[in-house]
């Protein structure tokens, strides 16, 4: 949403035309970053000027997966981990639809990891907004493949001992053409990134590092959502084009954000426009 132009007389929050208002208030906790990410997404949709009837949102199970229930577009709340194959099915059978996958780290990279890798390999034209709160929040705070080493969760009561996934590296290695990471605090840059990811033909991933005030930050004594936002403010550093192998997130250490991958690759049927049209069989 453009702050200076479209905001003269409004009767409500500018996001309200795109929200299912009968389901508000939503279920997310105080200080959760998902509402903020949803705000940034709607701001991006407004900027893109895309046909709303041709825009679909697919989300999986989890806290972020609830986005499908609140956004007023054709939205699909599918099974755990299967948002990406479901979106693949939509996109392949109706290439004129714009499909956005909006789901969490556990949903997309753990149980959905296989599908994530293959969609990136196929370079199918999807925009993936991956909200990473480093934990399985909806089910009560269990360890996730993105949880940093030594962090406490309910199923790592003595500290997580497994090395976590590095999502930008995974996405790049599997073949994604656009990979960016921002935190929930970098809302303007996140909006811009979502716009770019949407416009990019091919598999585009935007990772959003988001506070989880009820579980991740509480179980690790890091305060509430606002304290995590302050942490992101102080400890995130923007490094566009940084090699993805340097993008590990260590527990309570620096977070590198920015746009890391923006390239061209041949794509499966279903990509809209772009030089990859020649790659079709």
């Amino acid at each position: 949403m453009n702050t200076l132009e479209s905001m003269t007389k409004q009767d409500g929050h500018p996001i309200e035309p795109l929200l299912r208002m009968d389901r508000i208030p939503h279920i997310w906790c105080p200080g959760c970053g998902i509402g903020t990410t949803l705000n940034a997404f709607v701001a991006a949709v407004n900027k893109l000027d895309v046909d709303r009837d041709k825009l679909c949102v697919v989300s999986g199970i989890g806290c972020t997966g609830r986005v499908a229930g609140y956004i007023k577009l054709d939205s699909f709340h599918v099974l755990h981990g299967r948002a990406i194959p479901f979106a693949t099915g939509i996109k392949l059978s109706h290439p004129e639809l714009n499909v956005v996958v909006f789901s969490g780290d556990g949903d997309l990279v753990s149980i959905g990891g296989n599908h994530f890798l293959h969609a990136a390999r196929r370079n199918i034209n999807l925009t993936v907004i991956l909200v990473n709160n480093f934990i399985y929040a909806m089910t009560g705070g269990q360890v996730a493949p993105t949880t940093p080493v030594t962090a406490y969760t309910t199923t790592s009561p003595f500290g997580n001992f497994e090395p976590p996934s590095n999502i930008p590296q995974l996405a790049e290695a599997a073949g994604a053409v656009y990979v960016a990471r921002w935190t929930a605090l970098h809302i303007r840059r996140l909006t811009k990134s979502i716009v770019e990811a949407f416009r990019k033909p091919g598999f585009a991933v935007v990772e959003v590092v988001s506070p989880c005030s009820m579980y991740y930050s509480r179980l690790n004594r890091m305060g509430e959502g606002i304290d995590m936002m302050k942490f992101y403010h102080k400890n995130s550093v923007i490094k566009h084009g940084e090699p993805t192998e340097n993008l590990d997130i260590k527990f309570q250490k620096q977070i590198i954000v920015g746009k890391f991958v923006d390239r061209e690759r041949p794509a499966i049927l279903g990509s809209s426009g772009g030089p990859d049209a020649e790659a079709e069989p």
Binding site: G31, L185, G225
Partner: protein, 93 residues
């Protein structure tokens, strides 16, 4: 003598002014808007809303620049800004 020089094109600069709208019942007291308002327009109020949280209150309405950072940061869609026109820029305000 002021140490800040008045820019020559100050008459051409127009500073937007915004009006803050808060839906108190939606607020969950996270504090994002208060913390990240660049001009300190908001502060935590002492009153309670229905859910028992302290919503923000506008303490310096004349300083709102309509940047709408609070609007995009709020996870509960409880605060937004409407543009109230523009005023002339002046030093220190």
């Amino acid at each position: 003598m002021s140490l800040v020089r008045t820019p020559y094109d100050i008459k051409k600069i127009k500073v937007p002014r915004g009006e803050v709208h808060i839906v108190k019942e939606r607020c969950k007291g996270c504090g994002f808007c208060i913390e990240y308002c660049p001009n300190g327009v908001l502060a935590l109020s002492d009153e309670y809303n229905e859910k028992g949280y302290h919503p923000p209150k506008v303490v310096s309405p004349e300083k709102c620049l309509s940047c709408a950072l609070c609007e995009v940061l709020c996870p509960d869609f409880a605060i937004w800004i409407t543009l109230q026109g523009e005023v002339e820029a002046k030093i220190g305000g």
